[in-house]
């Protein structure tokens, strides 16, 4: 029982990341009708926003410490971050420690700007082109983006830590009357889950309760009609692309302490996020979120030793197996609309 509870927690967390990426991907599918293979790269760039923030806060000047030597026998140069000397070790150090949450402030403008630039500069010209061309151009873009990151940050994973306040884990077991240490869960993962819920809620209410959102939803349902009403849907779609990029980026920023960012993490998530979107159903935002959490939880269950001992390797294929079963029983995924991406 406690093992199952734990895996549900794990699954919710995994699912949050899947759901956030899939949400952005579906926004782009649904509104623009574009297959965006660069979406994983957007997630990766989000994670690197956290790295950049950490680097910025750690910008340092060097102080030579004559008492110690470096590996070549020269006097050791100690790095002193500027923020610490400006704001004092306590507040400055605190800023450095909180670099990941702080980098949200950096990520939003960066991602929205990148989204705008991508849509205006490239994607716009591909609305009328076949999906195959869209795949090729966005895949090329994804490679270029990740190679640029690799050029500046190298190929190694870069450790990004969460604030001390959220380090360590919470003992759910004791709360629910189990033995101590049976159901523990890291604070940061709880933060991530809550963060994901807020973002998802935000996107949904934005689309539900604003005029802008209503127009976009109408556009998703029937682009031509909305265009006939004299509403400039194109500009709104640009904004939607920026929003989708921001969602992917924020998912990446906050995931950085869980998964040390490296330049190809986007590609690792790309295939998975496509599976999630399709299982949820093309063009359905609630479907994407539902599928994200569903696949996250099922994957966690499949990783349990009890399950693996019955079917070895099930944790490696479960996502794909579920995708096949769902697509064969429900032709358009969980909540897909008719006629979207079916040709």
């Amino acid at each position: 029982m406690d093992a199952i509870l734990l895996q549900i927690l794990n699954g919710l967390d995994k699912g949050s990341a899947y759901a956030l990426i899939a949400l952005g991907l579906t926004l782009i599918f649904g509104t623009l009708g574009v297959v965006n293979f660069a979406h994983g790269a957007l997630f990766m760039i989000g994670a690197f926003c956290a790295v950049v923030m950490q680097r910025l806060l750690n910008l340092s000047y060097e102080v030579v410490d004559p008492t110690r030597t470096d590996f070549l026998g020269n006097p050791l140069k100690v790095q002193m971050p500027y923020v610490e000397s400006w704001f004092g070790t306590e507040f400055g150090g605190g800023l450095i420690e909180w670099s990941v949450p702080l980098s949200i402030l950096l990520a939003i403008p960066v991602m929205v700007g990148l989204g705008f630039a991508m849509e205006r500069g490239l994607i716009k010209h591909f609305y009328k082109r076949p999906h195959a061309d869209q795949i090729l151009v966005t895949f090329g873009l994804a490679i270029v983006l990740q190679e640029i990151i690799k050029y500046f940050f190298g190929a190694n994973p870069i450790p990004t830590t969460s604030p001390d306040l959220f380090s360590g884990s919470f003992d759910f077991g004791v709360l629910l009357g189990f033995d101590p240490n049976t159901i523990i869960y890291p604070y940061w993962r709880m933060v991530y889950f809550l963060f994901a819920l807020i973002i998802i809620g935000g996107v949904f209410s934005f689309l539900q309760f604003t005029t802008f959102g209503m127009v976009v939803r109408a556009g998703m349902a029937d682009r031509e009609t909305v265009g006939l009403l004299g509403i400039n849907i194109d500009r709104r779609f640009t904004i939607m692309f920026g929003l989708a990029a921001a969602v992917a980026g924020l998912a990446g920023v906050m995931y950085a302490p869980i998964l040390s960012p490296n330049y190809h993490m986007g590609m690792d998530f790309l295939v998975l996020s496509f599976v999630v979107v399709v299982v949820g159903g093309m063009g359905s935002l609630p479907g994407a979120v539902l599928a994200g959490f569903l696949l996250g939880i099922l994957q966690s269950f499949a990783s349990m030793n009890e399950v693996k001992s019955i079917i070895p390797g099930i944790d490696q294929v479960i996502i794909y197996l579920i995708a096949i079963i769902i697509l064969l029983t429900r032709p358009r995924g969980l909540m897909g609309r008719k006629g979207v991406m079916e040709d």
């Binding site: 090729l136 895949f139 090329g140 270029v144 050029y151 390797g313 490696q316 794909y320 032709p331």
Partner: protein, 403 residues
């Protein structure tokens, strides 16, 4: 000839000529020149051109004609390779039994996967094929290690049965004694040409594969497949059942993939699980689109393009760059090297990504369209010129589009 129209026969003859002359055409720079780096006429790369050409030709029969975008064709590539290596292990190094079986087994795999996946269309179909291929890859890499030898890759060990191995049989892949890795070399001045048995074996098969694809393009069957791509509703109301047509196309392209996978193992007796990964499936999709989906020659050009980048650009390092620009003053030399540096060697992916984008932005029909534009330009100039002759006299690899 061979049941082809005069135009197609000429086209086929050009392809045959280009294929057979590859060891010479791809070796344009003398060995001693610093541009020899760009020569691609060595056996491994030429074999890859032919093999991935076959893979892409087959993929194009499905994607180019019916429009069904499979993201799982690498699974058949892997199945073909594993089959051939297993035949080495059980029977011996003759490639023939393995290749025949590779085609049969990949056809069976394709039949099952196609039968299930073709119940859906569009992106749902793509994801179904992707799911099957990724499952195959993940299992081959880990749980199925006893059959596939996992990460290390399946290979032949000295204590394998190899029941058909005679005393004097070659100890590497061969066709009735013709050893695949043997080459004949011709030196002409500073040029060295390598004519490799394995390459010519692949080349002959590639020509046959191309010929079959040409026949399919011109056949009623091919016409039906194109009809499916353009309007399935009309297809059904014309009394045609589209499912068996698409399934047949899927199985045929699966057999091509299995053959290509088998040939990979026939050239190099090792089968690795990465061959089944989604990136490998994605690669053939990119090859086909890059070259020009639905055209006969496009996928082959796309395959050559990507394999060339992968093998040639990745080997250019700073030392080579300095060698090229050594004639310049030091400062300028360093500057130029520093400017090119990010695009070659470890940065070859960047070059590939940029080229993908450029091609798809400026040549919507892929490389074939680029070829056509050049040809058109060429013809226009010709006509403007005084001694106007038949432009058809200079087909210059004029890519042939099946309209």
């Amino acid at each position: 000839m061979l049941g082809l129209s005069a135009k197609d026969t000429r086209f086929l003859l050009i392809v045959v000529f280009l294929t057979l002359a590859t060891p010479f055409l791809l070796q344009p720079f003398p060995e001693t020149s610093s541009l020899a780096q760009f020569n691609a006429g060595y056996p491994d790369l030429m074999q890859k051109f032919a093999i991935f050409g076959i893979f892409a030709i087959g993929f194009n029969i499905l994607f180019g004609l019916t429009g069904y975008l499979s993201f799982g064709h690498a699974a058949f590539l892997g199945v073909g390779s594993y089959t051939v290596v297993w035949m080495y292990k059980l029977l011996g190094y003759n490639v023939l039994p393995g290749l025949v079986l590779a085609i049969i087994i990949s056809a069976l795999f394709a039949l099952v996967i196609g039968f299930i996946s073709l119940r859906r269309s569009g992106i749902y179909f793509s994801i179904l094929t992707l799911a099957f291929a990724q499952m195959s890859y993940n299992l081959a890499y880990s749980v199925l290690t006893p059959i596939t030898n996992g990460e290390t890759g399946l290979q032949v060990y000295l204590n394998d049965p190899q029941i058909l191995m005679g005393e004097n049989s070659p100890t590497s892949p061969h066709l009735f004694g013709i050893v695949m890795r043997d080459s004949t070399q011709i030196q002409m001045g500073d040029w060295l040409f390598t004519m490799n048995n394995g390459y010519y074996f692949c080349a002959v098969i590639a020509i046959i594969a191309f010929y079959i694809s040409l026949r399919i393009f011109r056949s009623p069957f091919g016409m039906m497949l194109r009809a499916i791509k353009t309007n399935q509703t009309r297809m059904n109301y014309t009394g045609l059942n589209s499912r068996p047509y698409t399934l047949a196309a899927f199985v045929i392209s699966g057999m091509y993939a299995g053959l290509a996978g088998g040939l990979l193992a026939a050239m190099d007796p090792l089968a690795g699980a990465e061959r089944m990964q989604w990136t490998a499936s994605g690669e053939v999709v990119l090859m086909t689109i890059l070259g020009g989906a639905g055209t006969l020659m496009g996928p082959v050009l796309g395959a050559g393009f990507i394999k060339y980048c992968e093998n040639i650009f990745s080997k250019i390092n700073d030392g080579v760059l300095h060698g090229w620009f050594a004639f310049m003053p030091d400062g300028i030399e360093d500057l130029i090297v520093a400017m090119i540096h990010p695009f070659v060697g470890k940065g070859w992916h960047l070059t590939l990504g940029i080229l993908f984008m450029l091609v798809v932005i400026f040549l919507p029909g892929g490389l074939v369209e680029g070829g056509q534009r050049v040809a058109r330009l060429f013809r226009r100039n010709k006509k403007a010129g005084p001694g106007d002759k038949d432009p058809e006299h200079h087909p210059k690899q004029a890519p042939h589009v099946a309209e």
